[in-house]
Symmetry: C2
Subunit: 293 residues, 2 copies
């Protein structure tokens, strides 16, 4: 097992997450477009390609940087894989951001993709390359499109890496959870362990080559999620704020995924109830806070 | 009026095409991502953004090069436009290649886009950036999706820049026109003057901001087009050949466009009958052959 991480600033790299496996896995600090990646992937059986940038507003400030991270680097990586790991099963982590503002709910995989930000455009292209290489080079590549994820071991130092975990940090810090525009917009919320299960099941299945699958979870408003954090933490409060313009511009309205294709193809559905996931997440960060902020 | 051309090898640059306007326009030889572009576009009223690469098989050999030409360079250019020419009307030249193999005919603009090659993926992204900048920065950008174009002033030195003009060259050279796999696949064929009209009408319309429009023409098989070339030239012949694998892999089957959105929005439809367009094209290259091959 080898882990490749560019340790990009503000992204998720955290050595504490790897402490349980130190000495058992190879860790390489580089970009997936770098040449040093080659010996690590040669003849690999499974590739979990989770590299990328995911900050929507930052992608509008630096679209070319996001384009490199989410598309060009993946094209380099796929060129390497088709030559040096042609039998590998490859999983790409797509995103609900590829769809843009939903035209109908729940959103299935054939919903048109018209992203509201540069990040979504680049993720569409990065995913399309994986599916193209499946068709053109017979590489067993597939994609799962994540919705909003929360849970342990996440980056907790900036809100652009995932709003749900940021809510949890604000609460644990004794600060109010800020809801832009009232927080009424619905999201499909899933716990990180369920996402990991989906990744394992998608790659274990022989039927996923060249296909993309929505993941889903519990559809609820950001306000309802924030209030659950307050309730289960037994402290704190939520606070409604006006939308900052940069957030308003990339806001998509309500989102809910149809994940029946994943369920039918590889038997996945979200298994962790919100209360259980949130309790585990709160306890985790209370215990290991010093490693995350 | 300023013309920016990178004069990329094997692409369309031909000084003879500009001979009628030498001294009346500025010609700058550089990439649209280069800094030297800035003074030329500052305060511009109309931008015909026709930069890009269009060779399907070459895009599979060098996807990163195609990604630069069709996406990264356009992101740089749009970043420049939104700052230094925010009132410009901008036209992007998209392609039917964005759709991939049609799921239904005729193909309208909401047909899913799943390209069969890297070129299509990158063109999807390049177009999406134009429509995003329209929405996000209020830039008046739109896209027209070209089908297969033929006519005078085209590059005639390699088949990857457009199969129709290549057929014409082969015929004028006294060689057989080669049809891969029988040539039964249908294409929507349009004459270059009609495409130019569409570009002018799309930019003259106040209703095109943030939208994409199919262009169409006469739906006919490549074989029928080739036979029309032979008939109107009064010489030569067609020859059926097996598909080379690299072409077979990116072949899309039949294509026919629904261009009613362009017709309704800015009053365009193809106006040049095949016979007229072909006669003008044959006469043009007979007369000016030495400038094109």
């Amino acid at each position: 097992v080898a882990i490749i991480d560019s340790k990009a600033p503000f992204a998720g790299a955290n050595e504490f997450n790897l402490a349980p496996v130190v000495g058992k896995v190879t860790l390489k600090v580089c970009d997936i477009a770098d040449k040093e990646v080659a010996p690590l992937v040669e003849g690999a059986d499974y590739i979990f390609n989770l590299a990328g940038a995911l900050n929507h507003t930052e992608s509008m400030r630096n679209p070319l940087s996001d384009l490199h991270a989410n598309c060009a680097a993946h094209v380099s990586f796929l060129e390497l894989l088709r030559k040096s790991a042609p039998s590998a099963r490859v999983l790409y982590a797509g995103t609900r951001g590829q769809y843009g503002a939903p035209k109908y709910l729940p959103v299935d995989e054939s919903h048109p993709m018209r992203s509201t930000d540069a990040n979504g455009i680049n993720k569409i292209a990065g995913e399309a390359y994986h599916l193209l290489y499946a068709k053109h080079y017979d590489l067993h590549a597939c994609s799962i499109r994540l919705s909003n994820t929360y849970g342990p071991r996440h980056v907790m130092t900036n809100p652009g890496q995932g709003v749900l975990n940021w809510f949890i940090r604000k609460n644990l810090d004794g600060e109010p959870i800020e809801l832009f525009g009232g927080g009424g917009q619905k999201r499909d919320i899933h716990f990180v362990d369920d996402v990991v299960d989906a990744m394992l099941l998608a790659l274990a299945s022989p039927h996923t080559k060249g296909e993309a699958y929505n993941l889903g979870g519990e559809a609820m408003s950001l306000k309802a999620f924030a209030e659950a954090v307050v309730r289960l933490a037994g402290k704190g409060r939520v606070q409604v704020r006006a939308y900052p313009p940069s957030f308003k511009a990339v806001e998509i309205g309500d989102y809910q995924a149809d994940y029946s294709k994943a369920e039918k193809t590889f038997g996945w559905k979200p298994a962790t109830p919100l209360e259980e996931g949130l309790n585990r997440t709160l306890r985790y960060y209370e215990q290991y806070r010093s490693y995350y902020w």
